[in-house]
Symmetry: C2
Subunit: 183 residues, 2 copies
């Protein structure tokens, strides 16, 4: 293992359980999970020239529901992606999930989104200069539906989705704020 491998950055603490992807840690009376084989999470805010927000929808086992989200993914979680820059992961995930390529991938902000349960740091990117070049839909393990929703109709569209039983990831609202949109 190289000195810069993700495992070296793991915090001290007692391991309470370990899966293939997540490790549950207890430290000084606090509990949280880490993802040893990834170096981060990227979330992509992508609005087309026609002012349509690109969203993905997929079934999420953790909540046993369909969830509407911004395109997103793990950084450096495969052998091929080890050590990749955050912006590279953002480009890869946007293309895999939605079929869009971006001329520019601008970093907006980074921070811990669920610090009560995990160490995960999420970095938001603004995908600019969009061009659809692929089918999207995710990799072979994913079943992702892509939506393009006019920002002017977003509130009503999300309300209808919720009515049909889907959940909406609030990171969507954070992303819109970060690109200067008002709620």
């Amino acid at each position: 293992m190289s000195p810069a491998a993700p495992d070296d950055a793991l915090p001290e603490g007692q391991t309470l359980g370990e899966g293939k992807y997540l490790r549950l840690i207890s430290e000084n009376g606090w509990e949280y999970v880490v993802r040893p084989h990834s170096t981060g999470v990227v979330v992509i805010v992508a609005v087309t020239a026609e002012r349509r927000l690109i969203l993905v929808e997929q079934r999420r086992v953790a909540v046993h529901s369909q969830v509407v989200e911004l395109p997103a993914g793990l950084v450096g979680d495969t052998a091929a992606a080890r050590g990749e820059p955050l912006a590279t992961a953002a480009r890869r995930e946007l293309l895999e999930e939605t079929g869009y390529e971006a001329e520019r991938m601008v970093e907006l902000a980074a921070g811990p989104i669920a610090v009560g349960i995990g160490s995960e740091i999420v970095t938001f990117f603004h995908a600019q200069g969009l061009r659809r070049t692929g089918p999207g839909g995710g990799d072979e393990t994913e079943q992702i539906v892509v939506h393009e929703v006019a920002l002017s109709e977003l509130a009503g569209w999300l309300a209808a989705k919720r009515q049909s039983g889907a959940l909406v990831d609030p990171k969507l609202f954070a992303g819109l704020y970060l690109i200067g949109e008002a709620g």
Copy 2:
């Protein structure tokens, strides 16, 4: 245990590890944590009459850093709070952490904030009609610093905080979007 106790709502799956607060589950090849002794998380967006956003700052073990966040807390996680409505938890947490009481606690939106690692559903509230009546600072297990930051100066204030080594929870931006603020 009563039929409505939180444990009854737990999903199927194999337990890989269990702490005092969190349980690590594997289900159909996916891993995530649940918090069996709580029924939710509330996050409170509170802006004073002077257009100052109320923020809290505390050390978070999961990321080994100071984190700047909206006031927030668990729902129904103590014997005294078992079965409490979400809005009641929001009022309690706002008062405990910041010393503010709100005339109205308006629900904004709810959703899974970190569905790749946990089942947690976060509900955002807008605290309206604020009045400071207590010291804040959290309960006996917490060491919370309260900040009141003019919305017009927020971006610069957050940049300075980051410069000093603190992390910023992006839920803050989601909350601002949900009350109609533009980034």
